[in-house]
C-alpha cells in the first residue's frame, strides 16, 4: 500500500476530525487509531491473509465519513416477529424500536459516551480496518444484556446509500452479554441497488460466562458496493457464540473474524456461505483462538463462485498451550461454476498443546454430473437442476438458520440470486 495513500488518509482525517463526535469515539483514541494504522500500513494483497481481497478499491475511495446522510431508505426486508429493529443510514441511526425488556440499546452519537470494551485486537494484522472504523465512525450502537435476562431479539439494518466518492460509512456495534444472558441478533447490510458505497464495519462481541449469542449476519449490499468488516469476539467460560454469515452482495466483500475462546468450555460455531457472480470477490478470514481448556470450534463454509468471481475462505484455528482438550472441526467446501471462476479455501491449524481433537476438510469442485443427470432424467430443465444443486450445496449452512422467517427470507433471496427460473422459487 503506497505512502501516498497513507498521506491522503492523514489529510482526510486532519480535515474532518474536529467534527467527529467525541461520544462515539474519543478524539484521543481516533488519533491513536490513525497513528497505529499509519505505522502498520493499510492491508496489502502481498500479505498472505489479504491476498484474495480486492484492496485497490481503497485507492479510489474517500475515507472521510458521510457526515449528514441524506439518502432515502430503500424498501426494508419484512420485519421479524419478536425482533426490535434499528435502522442505520450510512452508519448513523435513523429509526429505533423499544429495546427488549432489561436490555440497554444505546446510540452513542445521541446518548451516552463510549466506554471501554471496543477493542478489536489492533495487534492483529487482520483487524487493521477496524482502526479505520475507530478513527472515522460517526455513530456506534452499544447493546448490553444483563445477567439472566429473558431471551430476546434485536435486528440491526445498515443501509449504505451514499457513493464512495462522497464518503464512507462506518457501522459500529458492541454486543455485550452478561453471564447467562441469551440474545439473537440479526445484522443486515444492505444498500441501494446501484450505489457504489464503501462500508467498513466493526463489531465487537463480548460474552460473559454461560452467555449465548446467536448472530445472523447477512451482507447483501448493492452490486457496486465495497464492504469491509472486522468482528472481534471474546468468550468467557461456557459461553456459546453462534455466528451465521451469508454474504451475497457487494462487488468486493471482505470480513475478518477473530474469536477468542478465553474461558473453559467456550464454544464458537461459525457457519458461513458466500456467493460470487460476475466480477464479485467474496473473502472471509476467520481466526478462532483457543486459550482455555475444553473449548470448541465448529466451522462450516460453503461458497459458490460463478462468472469471473472469486470466493475465498481462510480459516485458522490456533490452539494455545493453555487449551488442552480443545475440539475443533472445519468443513470448507467450494463449488466452481464456470472456467473463469475461482475458489480459494485455506484451512489452517496451529496447535501448541496435547490432547486436542482437530479435524479439517476442504474441497473445491464442480457440480456432480451424476446428480445433474438424475435431476434431468426427472424432467427438470438443466438450469433449474443446476440451481437446485447449488442450492443444496449451500443447505449445510442455510439449514442451521433456526429462525424460520429469516431462513425463508434468505432462501427467497438466494433463489433469486441463483436463478432467474421462477420454478425454483415456487419450490421453496
Amino acid at each position: 500500500m503506497s505512502a501516498a495513500l497513507l498521506t491522503r488518509l492523514q489529510e482526510e482525517y486532519g480535515a474532518v476530525h474536529a467534527a467527529l463526535p467525541e461520544s462515539v469515539t474519543a478524539a484521543k483514541r481516533r488519533r491513536e487509531a490513525i497513528e497505529t494504522l499509519c505505522a502498520q500500513g493499510l492491508p496489502a494483497t502481498r500479505e498472505e491473509n489479504w491476498r484474495y481481497t480486492n484492496l485497490r478499491v481503497l485507492e479510489r475511495a474517500r475515507f472521510s465519513p458521510v457526515e449528514d446522510p441524506a439518502g432515502t431508505l430503500p424498501v426494508l426486508p419484512e420485519p421479524l416477529e419478536g425482533f426490535a429493529r434499528y435502522v442505520f443510514l450510512d452508519g448513523q441511526l435513523r429509526s429505533s424500536a423499544a429495546a427488549p425488556r432489561g436490555v440497554t440499546v444505546c446510540s452513542l452519537r445521541s446518548q451516552g459516551a463510549a466506554g471501554a470494551g471496543w477493542e478489536f485486537g489492533a495487534q492483529l494484522p487482520e483487524a487493521r480496518l477496524a482502526l479505520l472504523n475507530e478513527a472515522f465512525a460517526t455513530d456506534a450502537i452499544a447493546i448490553e444484556v444483563p445477567a439472566d435476562a429473558e431471551p430476546c431479539g434485536i435486528e440491526l439494518v445498515f443501509v449504505a446509500a451514499t457513493a464512495a466518492q462522497q464518503g464512507a460509512s462506518y457501522p459500529r456495534v458492541r454486543l455485550a452479554l452478561q453471564s447467562g444472558a441469551r440474545l439473537s441478533v440479526v445484522e443486515r447490510h444492505i444498500g441501494l441497488a446501484d450505489s457504489a458505497s464503501l462500508v467498513n464495519s466493526a463489531v465487537r462481541v463480548e460474552l460473559a460466562a454461560n452467555a449465548h449469542l446467536t448472530h445472523y449476519r447477512l451482507q447483501h449490499c448493492g452490486a457496486r458496493a465495497v464492504w469491509f468488516d472486522t468482528l472481534a469476539a471474546q468468550l468467557a467460560a461456557e459461553a456459546h457464540y453462534e455466528l451465521l454469515a451469508v454474504s451475497t452482495g457487494a462487488l468486493t466483500a471482505r470480513s475478518s473474524v477473530h474469536a477468542r475462546l478465553a474461558g473453559a468450555g467456550a464454544q464458537f460455531t461459525l457457519s458461513a456461505a458466500a456467493l460470487g457472480e460476475g466480477a464479485q470477490s467474496q473473502d472471509m478470514y476467520a481466526l478462532s483462538e483457543h486459550l482455555a481448556v475444553r473449548t470448541r470450534t465448529a466451522e462450516t463454509f460453503r461458497g459458490i463462485a460463478s462468472g469471473r468471481s472469486r470466493v475465498a475462505f481462510n480459516g485458522k484455528i490456533a490452539v494455545r498451550q493453555s487449551a488442552r482438550g480443545t475440539d475443533s472441526r472445519q468443513s470448507l467446501r467450494g463449488l466452481l461454476d464456470g472456467p473463469e471462476a475461482e475458489i480459494d479455501l485455506r484451512p489452517q491449524l496451529e496447535i501448541y498443546t496435547d490432547e486436542v481433537r482437530c479435524s479439517h476438510g476442504a474441497t473445491a469442485g464442480k457440480l456432480d454430473e451424476n446428480m445433474l443427470f438424475y435431476l434431468l432424467s426427472r424432467g427438470l430443465a438443466p438450469e433449474v437442476a443446476e440451481h437446485l444443486l447449488k442450492w443444496a450445496f449451500l443447505e449445510d449452512v442455510i439449514a442451521r438458520i433456526g429462525l424460520a422467517d429469516l431462513r425463508r427470507q434468505i432462501e427467497r433471496g438466494l433463489a433469486g440470486q441463483l436463478s432467474e427460473a421462477a420454478t425454483l422459487q415456487e419450490l421453496l
Partner: protein, 249 residues
C-alpha cells in the same frame, strides 16, 4: 411404443451395444436379461439420454418419434422414466421438492397448469403407503441416508407419481430382500396399463416371479440373441447364460 433398430453405442471409444434390435409394443412388459457386462445398463442409460455415450448407428423410435434427438429432460417430460440401479443421494434437495418439480415439468410440457399442492401431497402420501415408505422421507434430502432398499422404493414411488408412458427399470431388484422385492414388484404391477410399457433390466429371474413379463429378451455382447415368452426366463435360471454366448458371435 418403443422400436430400436440396429443400435450401436460406445463409451470411451469402446463399443458396448453392437446392433441391438428391440420392439416393445404398447401395454407390454418386457424383460431384458443377460450376463454381467452384456450392455443391459448401457441400454437403459442410452434410452434415458445419459451424456457420455456416443450413438454410432441405429434408430430409436418412441411413440413414433426419434427418441435420440431429445435431451434427457425432454425424454422425461415425454414420458420416459429411468429407475436407476444406483440412485444418487442429493442432500439438500428435498424429496418432495423434486417430485413436485418433476410433475410440474411434465405438466408444463403438456400445457397443463401446475399441480395443486394439497392434491399433490395427498397423492404422494397414498403412493407412499403403497410403497410402505415412512412419510418422514418426504422432507429428507433425495435418497439421503436411505438404505439400498429404500432408494429402490423411492425410485418406484417417483415412477408411481410421474406415471410414465415407458418405464425403464435398471436392476430394480438388486439389493432387495424378499419383502422389499414384493413391495417394489407390487408397486410396479399397479402401474401396468394398456397405454404403458415397461422394460425390466435384470440379471436374475426372481423379479420376474413377481412381475410377470410378456416377453423376455437375452442380451449378450451388445445384441439381443434370443427372445421368448416368460418360460425363457425359467430356462435361463436353470441353464445360465453360457449356452447362449456362442450365439452372439
Amino acid at each position: 411404443m418403443l422400436t430400436i433398430k440396429n443400435l450401436h453405442a460406445a463409451v470411451d471409444g469402446k463399443e458396448i451395444l453392437k446392433g441391438l434390435d428391440l420392439q416393445v409394443p404398447e401395454g407390454e412388459v418386457h424383460a431384458v436379461m443377460g450376463p454381467n457386462g452384456s450392455g443391459k445398463s448401457t441400454l437403459a442409460h442410452v434410452l434415458a439420454g445419459r451424456p457420455g455415450y456416443s450413438i454410432t448407428a441405429g434408430t430409436v423410435l418412441f411413440k413414433g418419434r426419434d427418441l435420440l434427438a431429445l435431451s434427457p429432460e425432454e425424454r422425461a417430460r415425454e414420458g420416459v422414466f429411468l429407475g436407476f440401479q444406483y440412485p444418487v443421494e442429493i442432500p439438500g434437495v428435498n424429496n418432495v421438492y423434486l417430485l413436485k418439480a418433476a410433475v410440474n415439468a411434465a405438466r408444463k410440457h403438456r400445457g397443463l397448469p401446475e399441480v395443486d399442492a394439497f392434491e399433490f401431497l395427498t397423492l404422494v402420501r397414498e403412493k407412499m403407503r403403497l410403497m410402505r415408505m415412512d412419510e418422514s422421507m418426504l422432507s429428507r434430502g433425495v435418497n439421503e441416508g436411505f438404505s439400498g432398499g429404500e432408494k429402490k422404493r423411492n425410485e418406484i414411488l417417483q415412477m408411481l407419481v410421474l406415471e410414465p408412458a415407458l418405464a425403464l427399470l435398471d436392476e430394480t431388484d438388486s439389493g432387495l430382500d424378499i419383502d422389499a422385492l414384493k413391495v417394489v414388484a407390487n408397486g410396479v404391477n399397479t402401474l401396468r396399463a394398456p397405454n404403458r410399457s415397461m422394460v425390466l433390466v435384470t440379471h436374475y429371474q426372481r423379479l420376474l416371479e413377481h412381475i410377470v413379463p410378456d416377453r423376455v429378451h437375452v442380451l449378450v455382447k451388445g445384441r439381443i440373441v434370443r427372445s421368448g415368452d416368460r418360460t425363457l426366463a425359467h430356462e435361463l435360471e436353470r441353464r445360465g447364460y453360457d449356452w447362449l454366448l456362442g450365439e452372439a458371435a
